[in-house]
């Protein structure tokens, strides 16, 4: 087994296994430990300049990567016209720099503010540093090895699909420059650490909020009333259809 296989074939599967199994176990078994761990209550000014650029920037960039994996033909079609390629690259780079700025603010805030330090654990700093590696190598890749959006579909799309379809082809990334390899490997590291760190809050994004009723009213003893024989109930009343639940005012 050579380094290439170890880092880009074996390790990705270890990372994915950890990601799926440990995340599931943690969400199910230790839900109390899952939180965004917001520190806005303790400090808000720097958070504004750090959190918003970082989160929105990384979100859009990740969506871009995802699109390149899912619809590579679409990307190639878009890039067929040079002006569109330049537009995409410039937008991507600008977003990356915006993200990088936010990330640096967050790192500075975490290490300089006394109150934030009081709630900082090593994993918080490790996550920030790993994200910094990701963004910096991403920017380097974009600047040094142009044009990423042009060669991504022919290199990474097959590589990622080979991993996901259990027919790994690590040789696809074997001859890539160091910065790009670091970018890829760091991604797998982040996935591996995902369930052990605050990164897990990513899968708790509450999209259900868009359609759930405003009010949540829960009958704590609903089950009790149906589980206890009618005669044994403290107030033996005829059981009717469950009323209430939630009422909507919207």
């Amino acid at each position: 087994m050579n380094w290439n296989v170890l880092l880009f074939q074996v390790f990705p599967y270890v990372a994915l296994a950890l990601l799926v199994i440990v995340s599931f176990q943690r969400m199910r078994g230790k839900p109390f430990s899952v939180s965004s761990l917001s520190s806005q209550l303790l400090e808000r000014k720097l958070l504004f300049f750090g959190s918003i650029p970082f989160h929105w920037g990384i979100l859009i960039i990740l969506l871009g990567h995802l699109l390149a994996v899912l619809v590579p033909q679409g990307l190639l079609w878009w890039n067929a016209v040079p002006i569109r390629l330049f537009l995409l690259e410039i937008t991507g780079l600008a977003l990356a720099l915006w993200t990088l700025g936010g990330l640096l603010v967050l790192l500075y805030r975490r290490l300089s503010n006394r109150r934030i330090l009081a709630v900082t654990r090593p994993s918080d700093v490790i996550v920030l540093l790993l994200l910094l590696v990701s963004v910096v190598t991403g920017v380097l890749t974009a600047v040094l090895y142009r044009y990423g959006s042009y060669w991504f579909p022919s290199v990474f799309t097959p590589y990622l699909w080979s991993i996901l379809t259990l027919r790994p082809r690590p040789e696809l990334v074997a001859d890539l420059p160091f910065w790009i390899q670091l970018h890829v490997f760091n991604f797998w590291v982040l996935l591996a650490l995902f369930p052990f760190t605050r990164l897990i809050h990513i899968i708790t994004v509450p999209l259900g909020y868009l359609w759930r009723p405003w009010q949540l009213v829960i009958w704590v003893r609903k089950h009790r009333r149906s589980a206890v024989p009618a005669a044994a109930r403290p107030s033996a009343q005829p059981q009717t259809a469950e009323k209430g639940g939630a009422y909507g005012t919207d």
Binding site: K30, P31, F32, S33, V34, S35, S36, L37, S38, S39, Q40, L41, L42, E43, R44, L47, S51, I52, W56, R114, R115, L117, A118, V119, R121, S123, D124, T197, R198, H201, T204, V205, P206, L207, G208, Y209, L210, W211, R212, Q215, L216, V217, I218, W219, V220, R221, H223, R224, V228, R233, P234, S235, Q237, Q239, T240, K243, G244, Y247, T249, D250
Partner: protein, 502 residues
Amino acid sequence: MNVRAHVSMTFHLDKCIGCHTCSVACKNLWTDRKGTEYMWWNNVETRPGTGYPTGWEDQERFKGGWEKKNGRLELKLHSRARGLANLFFNPALPEIDDYYEPFTFDYQHLFNAPESDDQPVARPISMITGEPMNIAAGPNWDDDLGGSNLYAQNDPNWAGVSPEIQAQMAEIERVAFNYLPRICNHCLNPACVAACPSGAIYKRAEDGVVLVNENKCKGWRMCVAACPYKKVYYNWATGKSEKCILCFPRLETGQAPACFHSCVGRIRYLGVILYDADQIATAAHADTKDLVQAQLNAILDPFDPTVIAAAKENGLGDDWIQAAQASPVYKFVKVWKLALPLHPEYRTMAMLFYIPPLSPIVSSIEEGLVRLELPPEKIDFELFNHLEKARLPLEYLANLFAAGNVEVVKPILRKLLAVRIYKRRQSVEGHMDEATLRLVEAAGTTPEEIEAIYQLTAKPTLAERFVVPPYHREMAVEVWNDPLAHKGETGVGFIELPVRGD
């Protein structure tokens, strides 16, 4: 009609002496853990004043409660999509300094200090960073107005009160204040529940207690901003939100909540009221001036046979209906119409009702000036007839308890004064005169009602103040768990340490 029960509360502000015993009882029981030091699920404020957290009533800043937009009720904080967009930074969230930085003192230094010429002192230490700090604020920093007229001046409830009266109130000789103890209102239309993106906050249908599910809470902290009373708090150590639980473990074992039980002035009453859940939406949508009445309309008469039948249909037992019939809250709120919700204009339909305070001293008033040469038998009637000249301005109380509607507060104060005057005549003079009886009638009450109000106000027993319904925990346990299989298990607390993250 969809009848539900609600364990509801009444605070009699005339009886509050501002001793903070309730706050301390709560603190010792629930919020003495790391990350909760700054939280006061129960706090007592001096009014007029800015409260805790400072300026919490300024909803232009904190965006709490509901707003009626084009006839529809919407959160002042955000729309649904906006709520998700603000996950990364919540612009309306208070900062810890809006509450205060929790502190303790370095008492060990008093014992461990090296020998020196100076007396060792216990320096204040931040309970967040553990470092020495200068104390700049506290949970009751403006207690008794804190020796400054700034606190009273910055009270948002002065809206509509004339500048002359405000200036008069600032004069040292005319200073008047009352205490306002606050806990979670366990609203019927809670904004915190609606604002939670994770759906972690819920209202218990059985008794109306609003709770945060700590397992579902993901720390998006929208509830903190959305609660107009700022009674949901973010635990910075665990990354979860916490709030008053109305001591439900105590309620379920037949005890009143700790703040109620420890109340020195015995201002607190607790009891079941029956309400119509189908009327919540209507009442929350009412015109601002009708909000209080609309909420009272949703509260049902527990003696009405149709209400009882509907309650039983919803699974309410006879014991809970009896508790609702004996409820002191029902009497104060609905029968005697003496109690009002705090800030009904937030449209959350608070289920904690306050009996507004009378002015500190009943003195005679003429053109805004206190006149002392009046004969004692006339003094009583002066204020009754000139309530608009009371030392605590009516508009101020109306802004607190009636969305600015003076006409809601006035009859309550007149009735409270009638009780006071009637009982004073009776006990001091030993006989009743025509003038007093006319005054009683003018206040819209009767000697019998006055006796009942007096009894429950001045001389209630513990069992009369707290009518805790039977929760039947014994039944709940049998169903959830086989008692034999779980024999030997104790406690229902954390099975993991409540620490931050991983």
